[in-house]
Subunit: 559 residues, 2 copies
């Protein structure tokens, strides 16, 4: 048995697909048996958990090797629609668009789609297996409320293909990033979480960014955005891409701005295009492009309490004001589409005018830009470019649903990818929480991916522990949304953990947690003895007042 | 100027009511001026903040004195409907029910009601004052969505009286706890937060509990529940009551169980009654009574994944099973009402069958008990006893609204007081967050008070830092709910903070935060120099990439 390289009481498993080189990585949490009142034992099945740690979670992987395995390389090669550039990067052959959207529209189920389908449904499958055994998990799951999304009971490769073909989901998979394990961003699937890494002029270094990468995917980040703005942008990104088992996004305007020494007015379409192509050839899977901050929208933002709080939005606003000209990204959108189609780099259409305070939520500037995003979605689809839209930001709780309604309607059901939203402005230091409230809510209503917010938001650059707290908090919010929308078998892990809790299997309760190490640490703070892990109570209530102990003795314990 | 004893950059102020001894304590956050681009300055008004720290926030208070001032003593005395017992406790004169509900029904606006009205509306009033001045805060507030609650633009003493008279709000105010500053629990008012303190057999001591009290009200706890189950229950409670500026709740069955050495089957109505009277005479403001865990409901709970997770519920279940008899609290409800009416101790009807896992949410056991709660509400009202109902627990996000709907309907709009709810079971160590998501949502839908959950939930007894994190997280969730339901001027603090943020008034941003110390600490971790507090950027983006800096220079800065 190969134990998992990141977590105790877990092993790395690979689910087999329809071809020998299609093996979906997953983590199985191993559980101890239930002790019955008569002294006998009933085994508990392991619980399969979606695992984004890639090779870093495989104990057989040599962590000193030069990059992680290129799991998609064969699949890309055998399609025969790509060729090498003089610099060694892959590109689509002339006239070819090697994108998952193009394949899906042509009716082709790629290995990537099959991989992603298996990955999404592993828990449902495990549940089915368990149902055949006498010692099952508690299999009950509440009916969800999908808020209009199609939530199938089984996620098949064909369903995945159809969702991608319709534009309702994307599978970010740059042909130059074969290290990335396929995953889906769409509201019919598990809600995904993005973590931001990257240095700034005032902090971080390259080795630290690689460590943040491994750390982020250990805790479950589904994609990473490299937001580096400091020195060595290209070198940092190369290290990240060659070691990253999840899709990587960037905001190319940051590197462009670095090349003109921070002078926004010196930016140009030609420079941007050059940066974009270089990054696409390195393997960036999706690009945030602030193309919808249009000149006409700036007067709307001038009336705000907090103006423009998107870095990309502020950069483009400055350029437009200096040049008295329309946003060059808007003007050159078709060229951008052609470039991205050549590498299967997806768009994440930026929301440069997202509200930066609850006062500015759902205002004219924000919604004007959202409508414009919808126009670009349609044009991107015409070029077979996979596309999602970015969303807010700061929004009071009762105004969140309106964002989702408008986005679905105006952006033609392209996946929505939001930053929180933060639901109050008065909680600096706790904005991972103020935003998790918004994130869970908008995730339930249909947002496909949530960009994490750390406790340092609004205050400074997140450090290692902030990244952990941010990712785990957002996995929590995403799971809350999955339960609410009724993703098949989302509840299996909750049930297994609650069963372990009720049976005082403390170690199992920790192992099934989103953050086993923290759960164990907190339990141990008041009861540090090893023996406490077999005690039928904890320090919160003590033995006499433990409701579960009393309850089990009164109601009888099931297994 | 008297600076606030708990927070920097703040002062203690007292809002004056209609009589000289009616002074509502509040905190004013003092702000620095806005520096305009031309070098001139525009002052910023201070922001009034609801303050629960009582005397502990007043720099003039001698912290070594024996208990805090008895702010309500005169008001209770001058009503002339109470007398002293031989032991020195106050009790209603024969035939008198000195409860705020009785007064409200008689058309009397008590000083307590006026105090609470002023306290609720202070921000709206401050906003009105500000509107008359040239250097105003940004006064905009979104229209809220009260989900059927009456949310007035001005909270008058008469409105408070009418809400109490209708049973829609309570003002917990035991005549033996004159130290408590009046406050309201009702869905037309600010959402309140309860913090649990109290020792257990395995941890804590008396001095530590007093420290937790001061700590909890510093961070904004609106009521405290003393859940002590360890030694010295009575002494601990006395220390808490004499030093507590907020209402105190208890679960009297805990002390009763201590007296029978933890043997639930040895409990009796007579013993319980004795404990209840003693606690009422000490000054406990509200009692959690698990009267609705009825014998007929136990088979419903036996089918659950996690049985009974309420301590009180499990104790009563054990007693009923041992005695094959109906819950004695249910049977003796009218006597309970008579006792509580004599002291103006309020009921918090316990939810002994609340779900302890998402699997058990909204099940037959839970809803059978909720309906029974409604019956007891009506009977309590017949005795002029102020009453609220306790609620879950563990509930998936999409099933929360149903809880509120049923509670409003079945319990005749008596205030709802919920524990979270936790929205997923897989986050031990982060359950303050998984429950803050549920708490903000149910608060928006009408829950009047939220019982905090700390990071230690399910794992152990919370320590000092856990209490801080729990209270601040729940103040956050309550404020998110206040913004959503549109409490008048809830948004003023958000606006002031966002304005400070946009103008790089870092110290003001910290001071306006729910936790100024943490905000300052996090900012300082990456930019420890004092000069960073006047810098127009932070370590997250650095100077070149600061969107707000770029935005202000592009759009112009308003003041």
């Amino acid at each position: 048995m190969k134990l998992h390289a990141c977590f105790e009481q877990s092993r790395r498993v690979y689910l087999e697909g329809g071809r020998p080189d299609l093996k979906v990585s997953a983590r199985e949490v191993l559980l101890s048996p239930t002790r019955r009142a008569d002294g006998s034992c009933a085994p508990n099945d392991g619980v399969l958990v979606y695992d984004t740690s890639g090779a870093w979670g495989d104990p057989a992987f040599d962590q000193n090797s030069n990059g992680i395995p290129r799991v998609r390389e064969n699949w890309i090669h055998e399609r025969g629609d790509t060729e090498k550039t003089p610099s060694g990067a892959l590109t689509g052959k002339p006239g070819k668009r090697p994108t998952q959207l193009a394949y899906a529209r042509a009716g082709i189920i790629t290995p990537e789609m099959e991989y992603a389908a298996l990955r999404e449904s592993m828990r449902a499958q495990a549940q089915e297996n368990a149902a055949r055994l006498p010692h099952t998990h508690h299999l009950f799951q509440h009916a969800g409320d999908g808020r209009g999304a199609i939530i199938p009971r089984q996620i098949t490769p064909e369903f995945v293909r159809a969702q991608i073909a319709s534009g309702r989901a994307i599978l970010p998979a740059n042909i130059n990033h074969p290290e990335a394990e396929p995953m889906l961003i769409g509201r019919s699937f598990l809600v995904k979480v993005n973590a931001n890494i990257g240095n700034s002029a005032l902090g971080s270094d390259t080795a630290k960014e690689l460590e943040k990468l491994r750390w982020s995917v250990k805790w479950g980040a589904d994609t990473l955005m490299d937001l580096s703005t400091g020195p060595d942008i290209r070198k940092t990104r190369e290290l990240i891409l060659r070691n990253c088992p999840v899709p990587v996004g960037t905001v190319p305007i940051y590197e462009a701005l670095e090349r003109v020494d921070g002078k926004a007015e010196e930016l140009s379409w030609e420079l941007f295009k050059q940066v974009l192509i270089e990054q696409a050839q390195q393997g960036v899977d999706y690009f945030t492009i602030h193309a919808c901050v249009k000149k006409d929208f700036l007067p709307l933002a001038a009336k705000r309490l907090t103006g423009i709080v998107s870095r990309g939005g502020a950069i483009m606003a400055k350029w437009m004001t200096a040049h008295k000209s329309e946003n060059f990204l808007w003007k050159h959108w078709d060229e951008l589409c052609e470039i991205c189609a050549t590498y299967d780099a997806a768009f994440s259409i930026g929301d440069g005018l997202r509200p930066g305070s609850v006062a500015d939520a759902n205002d004219a500037a924000q919604f004007a830009e959202l409508k414009a995003q919808g126009e670009l979605v349609k044009r991107a689809w015409a070029f077979d470019v996979q596309t999602m839209c970015e969303g807010p930001g700061h929004v009071p709780l009762h105004m969140i649903e309106k964002n989702m309604e408008h986005q679905l309607s105006w952006c033609h059901e392209a996946p929505f990818y939001t930053l929180g939203p933060v639901t109050t402005d008065i909680a600096p230091g706790y904005d991972h929480i103020s935003s998790a409230i918004g994130a869970a809510t908008i995730g339930w209503h249909g947002t496909a991916m949530l960009c994490y917010v750390t406790p340092k938001e609004h205050l400074g650059l997140p450090e290692r522990e902030d990244v952990r707290t941010g990712v785990v908090t957002y996995k929590l919010a995403a799971h809350v949304a999955d339960l609410a929308k009724g993703h098949p078998a989302a509840q299996a892990r909750d049930n297994a953990l609650s069963k372990a809790r009720y049976e005082f299997r403390w170690a199992d309760q920790f192992a099934l947690s989103l953050d086993p190490e923290r759960a164990r640490e907190y339990h141990g703070q008041t009861l540090p003895q090893d023996s406490s892990l077999s005690a039928p109570f904890c320090s919160m209530c003590g033995p006499k007042f433990c409701s579960m102990r009393l309850s089990a003795s009164t109601l009888g314990k099931t297994d």
